[in-house]
């Protein structure tokens, strides 16, 4: 049953972040900022070869350096769990997780091979510079192009990731028969997440074998179970508290190696230890994989799709089969009877790639939506018209209905706002001064999911509410929306509500990812508040001569510290009086939100977008400017237009980076990423970003989640790169299928 919300004052209205002040004044503490009187500091030493064996580690000079307490290597590390499955975390892909300092084997360049622990950070860093590691290097391969022939379909599917559907019809046959054909091969570069906050863990040694762990992650419970499983500790002995996360983007979904190293050192030294990764070490773990795709579309002269073939090969490590959804989008977005989608992996001597904002979707749609644009030109059908022609009202991959799909409205509203009808479709037809102007568009889709999540609400007689859930706010605004939901449930001011997150002692939540947190934690908070409301209402009715006697819960409202009859607000009981009548001074409830099994069987949920981009290209010099973006998004109910807009804008900016700038450069001779700093790894700066307009299209959907929310963290990035590539084609007549589209490619 969908919950019955109270009147909405805050929900649906723009509200500033409740944690904004703490963040800009330094009051918000991040994992590397917690401290303890006995704190020691760890600094990591990383491997310089990509594959081979460590033949020796000389730690004498480091151990002799002032302040150095210990150097941990595979030779002297304490015993940890033997079975590799013990290292598997909640979101691990199939395989054998990387185990830091496990043995003498080097499986990727940058792998941690030693931890130097010292009295100060500087002493540890100095000590680390004195550690001498020798290797017996072996031949490695980090180049996806040379492993293409050995690509394979992962034998074991990653849980939570839909594998490509079985082929429908006869795609190759229908392609051969199609009067209009387009086909192309597309590259997407390696990208590293680079949140502003580097990965860091502070382990506070509490005595009696108890650890208080502050770890940068997107799920404290995942970190806790990893630590307890790997080190054989009781969950009661490991509390993970991460109230703030300085950006995650997926890099904090899985425990990263600094967590292991800090806990190991703390247990061994029996004191508090902090390990912070440097910016260059942020390039020694998770990243968005390098992907090659081919797309073939066959169509009738009027643009009706007859065949879709979309294949991808993604790099993964030697030890895990990382999987993300790259190709399915094409089959979900369009109606077509002959569809063949495959996804393969190729093993490389690298660390395992991982989820990065909308994993797989911007990559897959870059290829698919570039191909659709090409088809628009091949058939002479307007790109929006083409998409409408092939529009589907149900998810043909899954054979299910969409819980809702306002993509048609997104095209319409977005096109109107952008002024799409003014577009001369002819490439190179629009110009101002030396610059060619290009207008391009693309569709976006991202899964709208809800996950089992619990929350607690505590209302006290003074009219203050606390809501709590173990989930993380990775910068998306979770604190704020949960506060809004809590405040509205009781008609309180935002200031009267405190939201607590990121602590393993709080009610259960899965990792914060997949854009499911607002729907899941939001529903859980709503349910917990409702349970408290019911209790409060019962007490209110018990008050002697209660003006609410005989009233029904759905006929009263909670506002201004009272419970009042909606139709006759003069009949009310205050929160304080209700509590007094019940003989309590606080009311508490914990509730669990579960996705509806029936709805999940019948419907698939997606967030959609239509994104429109204007670029200006100085063709002679290869310089591209993104001068205008309009993104129309259908994401169900928008809890907070202000934080929601920030999410989408952030995603679009990243999409600009993905399309034009972002790329980790591997040296295949060394098997190593080379531009591992933010001077040479380019993300957009203010000068790269001009007008961005976000429009939320109305969409009503209570099947996707009881509170009607679909989630917004990822949709912004999804279609952006494709729309930019299409705009560049429109401007220049050049179809560039290799991201990022840097100066050399525009010239080439």
């Amino acid at each position: 049953m969908p919950p019955i919300p109270n009147a909405e004052t805050h929900v649906g209205s723009p509200r500033s972040r409740v944690d904004g002040r703490a963040k800009v004044t330094g009051g918000a503490r991040y994992s590397a900022e917690f401290t303890a009187p006995d704190l020691a500091h760890g600094y990591v030493v990383n491997s310089t070869v990509a594959k081979g064996r460590i033949t020796g580690i000389d730690t004498a000079a480091a151990l002799a350096a002032p302040g150095v307490l210990a150097v941990f290597t595979h030779e002297n590390r304490p015993r940890t769990a033997w079975f590799s499955y013990k290292y598997q975390d909640e979101v691990a892909p199939p395989g054998t997780p990387f185990r830091p300092l496990y043995d003498d084997k080097v499986v990727y360049s940058g792998q941690p091979v030693a931890l130097v622990v010292a009295e100060s950070f500087d002493a540890a860093r100095h000590g680390a510079s004195l550690v001498r590691v020798s290797y017996q290097a072996e031949a490695h391969e980090t180049d996806l192009t040379s492993r293409m022939g050995e690509a394979y379909e992962p034998p074991k599917k990653r849980s939570g990731i839909s594998p490509p559907p079985k082929p429908r019809g006869d795609a190759p046959g229908a392609y051969a028969d199609s009067p209009v054909k387009v086909s192309g091969g597309y590259w997407a570069a390696y990208e590293h997440h680079n949140p502003m906050e580097p990965h860091a863990t502070t382990v506070v040694w509490e005595g009696g074998g108890k650890l208080l762990v502050h770890d940068k992650n997107q799920g404290v419970l995942n970190a806790q179970s990893y630590v307890s499983s790997v080190f054989g500790l009781g969950k009661d002995d490991v509390r993970v508290v991460t109230p703030f996360v300085g950006g995650g983007f997926g890099s904090g979904l899985r425990p990263q190696y600094q967590l292991f190293l800090a806990v190991m050192a703390a247990l061994e030294l029996r004191r508090s230890v902090r390990v912070v990764l440097t910016r260059d070490q942020m390039f020694t773990h998770v990243y968005r994989p390098n992907t090659f795709q081919t797309v073939k579309l066959g169509a009738n002269p009027d643009g009706t799709l007859r065949s879709i073939q979309h294949h991808s090969v993604t790099g993964t490590s030697q030890f895990e089969d990382y999987q993300e959804v790259v190709v399915n989008w094409t089959g979900t977005l369009y109606h077509c009877d002959n569809v063949e989608l495959t996804q393969k992996l190729a093993k490389l001597d690298t660390y395992t790639p991982g989820d990065m904002r909308a994993p797989g979707a911007p990559t897959g749609l870059f290829a698919a939506e570039s191909a659709m644009d090409e088809l628009a030109y091949a058939t002479g059908v307007d790109p929006i018209e083409l998409r409408l022609k092939n529009y589907t009202e149900h998810d043909e991959n899954e054979g299910k209905q969409f819980s809702s799909k306002e993509l048609r409205a997104c095209y319409e509203v977005g096109a109107e706002r952008f002024g799409w009808s003014e577009r001369n479709p002819e490439p190179r037809s629009m110009r101002e001064g030396r610059e060619l102007i290009g207008w391009g568009m693309a569709s976006g889709a991202w899964e709208a999911q809800m996950m089992k999540t619990s929350a607690r609400a505590v209302l006290t007689a003074d009219g203050k509410l606390e809501v709590a859930c173990a989930t993380a706010d990775i910068g998306t605004g979770t604190y704020t929306i949960l506060t809004q939901i809590g405040a509205d449930a009781f008609g309180l001011r935002m200031e009267d509500v405190t939201t607590r997150l990121g602590d393993t002692t709080l009610p259960y939540s899965p990792v914060e990812g997949g854009s499911w947190t607002a729907a899941s934690a939001g529903t859980a908070v709503q349910l917990a508040c409702e349970a408290v409301r019911e209790k409060l209402f019962k007490h209110a009715q018990k008050a002697s001569g209660s003006p609410l006697a005989g009233a029904k819960l759905d006929a009263v409202s909670f506002a201004g510290g009272r419970i009042e009859v909606t139709a006759d607000p003069d009949r009310f009981v205050t929160i304080a009086d209700a509590m007094r009548a019940g003989g309590v001074d606080r009311l508490e409830a914990e509730e669990t939100a579960n996705p509806s099994k029936i709805d999940q069987l019948r419907y698939t949920g997606y967030t959609h977008s239509a994104i429109f981009v204007e670029v200006r290209v100085d063709e002679e010099l290869g310089v591209v400017r993104v001068t205008r973006v309009v993104d129309a998004v259908a994401a169900g109910k928008i809890l907070n237009p202000k934080t929601a807009r920030s999410q989408v804008v952030g995603g679009i900016v990243w999409g600009i980076g993905m399309a034009l700038e972002e790329e980790t450069l591997p040296d295949h001779n060394l098997g190593r990423f080379m531009n591992h700093n933010l001077a040479e790894y380019h993300v957009p700066v203010a000068a790269d970003v001009q007008g961005i307009e976000v429009i939320f299209v109305d969409e009503h959907d209570t099947k996707v989640s009881p509170i009607g929310v679909k989630g917004l963290g990822e949709i912004g990035i999804v279609g952006t790169a494709a729309a930019i590539a299409n705009a560049i084609y429109h401007a220049t007549g050049k179809r560039i299928r290799d991201m990022p589209i840097t100066i050399d490619k525009v010239l080439g």
């Binding site: 990383n46 491997s47 310089t48 360049s109 500087d122 860093r125 100095h126 510079s129 440097t278 260059d280 001064g433 030396r434 610059e435 200006r616 100085d618 002679e620 010099l621 290869g622 310089v623 400017r625 034009l660 700038e661 450069l665 591997p666 040296d667 001779n669 060394l670 190593r672 080379m674 531009n675 591992h676 700093n677 001077a679 040479e680 380019h682 957009p684 700066v685 203010a686 000068a687 790269d688 840097t742 100066i743 050399d744 010239l747 080439g748």
Partner: protein, 339 residues
């Protein structure tokens, strides 16, 4: 990072003496480059000689011949925003403002900008070989990742570039670097200050052991509005140049009088080619003429796997920049549209 001792020098003589006495000592000014390199373990100085309190090195003042002298400790921002620089050497202002960020420019010094080291990825990563960092270990950029590397004047030992923007203007303006060392003071023409890598890529400049840069002197010039700094890079701000061109022209009616131009991002030093400049002298300002000059500059260019595009890009950038300078429409450093 290694352990080092620290000395706050009292005067230039002391700083030069101490620097000369210990080849592993390093002078520190703004620290925006040196400290980074120390954190990466690329620079491992035995001693830091802090020159930031040295008296008299911050001044920007007239010289006897009508030029301008810029003290080595003047910050990049102070130089770029100095009224005399803005009025008489807008090209210098423009190049400085095209570089880094306001925060970095506030901290960075003039001397440090000259002596900043290459941004070659390998140079920055002690986990890899690099002839510049550790002579004799090889140059993995050749045959490796070399998108940002040199196409002119490189050697089989090193293909690194000098990353400065400001220095590209100083080359075009024919500045003189004033230095002070154990053997006294001397002036080094800008073209001779930085070196090509040859077989000693560990040496970026022709400074002698222990010499301190005290000032940069600009000769008087009359480019007026006929100048430009065109910087092409991987994003619109806060990125080093892939290719840049600083140009100044003394127009003689619609003919070119004296012309100076230099390239950044393409060589181990700001690249000037007096022969190419001579080709333009006395000619009408025309795209064909500029193209011929560009052709001449790039005649010996050698591309590698990822940077070969720089040759064509440089050719086009020279033509565009000379066009901007001739027209008296210098490239704006805030409006990213290229004229």
């Amino acid at each position: 990072m290694n352990r080092f001792s620290y000395l706050r020098a009292g005067d230039v003589a002391e700083a030069a003496r101490e620097a000369a006495a210990d080849p592993a000592a390093r002078v520190i000014a703004g620290g925006t480059n040196l400290i980074d390199l120390m954190k990466y373990d690329v620079e491992r100085p035995s001693r830091l000689i802090d020159i930031t309190r040295l008296p008299g090195l911050r001044a920007i003042e007239e010289t006897a011949d009508g030029g301008l002298s810029i003290g080595a400790l003047a910050s990049n921002t102070e130089v770029a925003r100095h009224p005399e620089v803005e009025r008489r050497y807008p090209l210098l202002s423009s190049t400085i403002l095209a570089g880094a960020t306001p925060q970095l420019r506030n901290a960075a010094s003039t001397g440090g900008n000259l002596l900043q080291r290459t941004r070659c990825y390998y140079f920055y990563d002690p986990g890899t070989p690099c002839n510049k960092r550790e002579p004799g270990t090889g140059c993995p950029a050749i045959g490796g990742v070399n998108r940002i590397h040199a196409v002119l004047g490189a050697s089989e030992h090193c293909i690194a570039t000098h990353p400065s923007d400001m220095c590209v203007a100083l080359a075009a303006l024919e500045a003189v670097v004033r230095v002070s060392g154990a053997d006294g003071e001397r002036g080094i023409p800008f073209a001779d200050f930085h070196r090509l890598p040859g077989d000693a890529p560990e040496r970026d400049t022709n400074l002698r052991q222990g010499e301190i840069v005290t000032a940069v002197e600009l000769p008087p010039n009359s480019f007026g509005q006929h100048h430009t700094y065109l910087k092409l890079r991987d994003r619109h701000s806060y990125a080093f140049a892939l290719v840049s061109v600083a140009a100044g022209i003394e127009m003689d009616g619609d003919r070119i009088g004296r012309v100076r131009f230099a390239l950044g991002g393409v060589a181990h030093k700001p690249w000037r080619d007096p022969e190419a400049e001579a080709l333009l002298q006395g000619r009408p300002a025309s795209a064909e003429g500029f193209a011929a000059a560009a052709e001449h500059v790039l005649r010996g260019a050698i591309g590698h796997k990822h940077n070969a595009f720089k040759i064509e890009l440089a050719r086009r950038a020279i033509v565009r920049a000379l066009g901007q300078a001739a027209a008296g429409t210098p490239q704006s450093q805030t409006d990213k549209r290229i004229q």
